[in-house]
């Protein structure tokens, strides 16, 4: 079942349709409802390696639907702690639950993670409305 459109208040967003859930010095990353809806049913997640450095504004992996491939643009900088193996095995999990079971990676935040200038839910929703 595809998820209903939503943009949780507790998350932070970038304009490339990626979200970050920031908890202390760690963050969980994923793609937004809008991103998964635009792509359609996901069939492949190309994850970064454990321990890889991810840089705010740069690609840390790819997600693919039948028709399209999309770079994952990290909203923050840090080091990969864990890749969501469930999404690697069952990429459609992202369509079903983009903010829950469909998270993509967990990272340890760098000192200058760039988390401060991300969009809040209201700002991201306004951005999506213009797309």
């Amino acid at each position: 079942m595809p998820a209903a459109e939503s943009y949780p208040e507790e998350l932070r967003y970038n304009q490339e349709h990626d979200w970050a859930r920031i908890e202390g010095d760690e963050a969980t990353l994923g793609i937004t409802w809008w991103a998964q809806d635009s792509l359609g049913d996901l069939v492949h997640f190309e994850p970064p390696e454990d321990g890889a450095d991810v840089t705010k504004g740069s690609s840390y992996g790819e997600v693919e639907s039948v028709k399209a491939v999309s770079d994952l643009i990290s909203p923050v900088s840090g080091t990969v702690l864990e890749v969501n193996a469930k999404v690697v095995a069952e990429p459609e999990t992202v369509n079903e639950d983009p903010y829950g079971e469909g998270w993509l990676v967990r990272i340890r935040l760098a000192d200058d993670s760039g988390a401060d200038d991300l969009l809040d839910a209201a700002a991201y929703k306004a951005f999506v409305a213009e797309q």
Partner: protein, 349 residues
């Protein structure tokens, strides 16, 4: 600024929530609910596609059979009235201007159904060769075309079974249609040609009978699983039929444009061939990706039935044996694939 053409079913697609995309100058549905469920509907039950963007020519006159024999690769004499044939419009170098289906309506009257993107080029090519005693008309705008495909398609439409590559006039829900036993999915099914003004009523009746609306996305994955070539991807004016594995639609004992070149390629053996492959590692092959053993991917996607990446591409003749390992450059990452015998997907017996 280019104005996109719309089929008579445009409003229906929008009302069904389809995602509309530009395709060969037309604004067409790429998907409704999603490529994967639409693909599965066709493999397991029945789906309906609006393929009204395709070109439809009527070619009539006493000299038409002789003209078609000169223009097309296959042997037109093998097509009886009520019969259809897959064939190629070839150029002087044996390249493929288009792949199409001819339908013989009467002894000297034929319908040609051609690719949307080649409609004008095909028409000009045929016209320029000016065949006395023939009359070529582009009837595309007068008709709509619905492909109804899947194991339950005939039953859902209330039609009788008939052999593939035949056609007859018939009725669906009281609407007069030309029922063509042809398709592009590898499944049993029909393509219904209907007067443009009846298209909406026919679409509604077919959907009412349980056909799942399907977009161009599923059409592409379905045809790729059964290795039907897509003109513009896998075949084109610079690729020849022998290398593309389409020697079976070339009657090399007849005289048609480019036949000498095709005879030579067949005799010498093609340097490269269009092969089908299945990914053995994660990653989805896409058109234009390099194959390390030499060659490139011409079509690639995710196979909903195999749940992995599949594709076709040209490789040197020595790499074409089924079971040969190929290495696909998936955006800088080498990923292993294995060549397979076509088609990639066959229904379990």
């Amino acid at each position: 600024m280019q104005t996109l053409l719309r089929t008579p079913l445009y409003e229906r697609h929008v009302a069904l929530g389809a995602r509309m995309v530009p395709f060969a100058g037309w604004e067409m549905p790429v998907q409704y609910e999603g490529v994967i469920p639409e693909h599965r509907a066709v493999r397991e039950d029945c789906g309906v596609f609006d393929v009204s963007h395709m070109g439809r020519f009527e070619f009539e006159g006493p000299q038409v059979p002789a003209a078609l024999q000169r223009l097309l690769s296959n042997d037109i004499d093998k097509v009886d009235v009520g019969g259809a044939q897959y064939t190629l419009l070839t150029n002087e170098t044996g390249g493929i201007i288009d792949d199409l289906i001819v339908y013989r309506v009467e002894g000297g009257r034929f319908f040609l159904i051609v690719n949307a993107g080649n409609r004008e080029a095909d028409f000009e090519w045929i016209e320029e060769r000016g065949h006395a005693g023939t009359d070529l008309r582009d009837k595309s705008d007068e008709f709509a075309l619905l492909a109804v495909q899947g194991p339950r398609s005939i039953e859902r439409l209330g039609l009788d079974d008939a052999p593939p590559f035949t056609f007859a006039m018939g009725e669906v829900a009281g609407i007069e249609v030309m029922v063509n036993r042809t398709g592009y999915t590898g499944e049993k099914g029909v393509e219904l040609m209907v007067m443009a003004e009846d298209a909406v009523a026919l679409w509604d009746a077919v959907v009412e009978r349980g056909a799942t609306p399907c977009g161009l996305g599923a059409r592409d994955t379905l045809r790729l699983e059964v290795c039907y070539p897509l003109h513009g991807n896998d075949i084109g004016p610079d690729t020849d039929a022998i290398s593309a594995g389409l020697g079976w639609v070339c009657a090399l004992d007849t005289e048609f444009t480019g036949v000498e070149e095709l005879r030579r390629i067949k005799e010498e053996g093609p340097e490269r061939k269009l092969v089908a492959f299945v990914m053995q590692e994660p990653g989805i092959p896409r058109q234009g990706m390099a194959i390390a053993e030499g060659g490139e991917v011409t079509s690639g996607s995710h196979s909903p039935m195999l749940d992995r990446g599949i594709g076709m591409g040209y490789v040197a003749a020595e790499h074409t044996e089924p079971g040969t390992t190929l290495t696909i450059d998936v955006r800088g990452k080498p990923r292993r694939a294995e060549t397979v015998k076509k088609p990639i997907y066959t229904k379990e017996a």
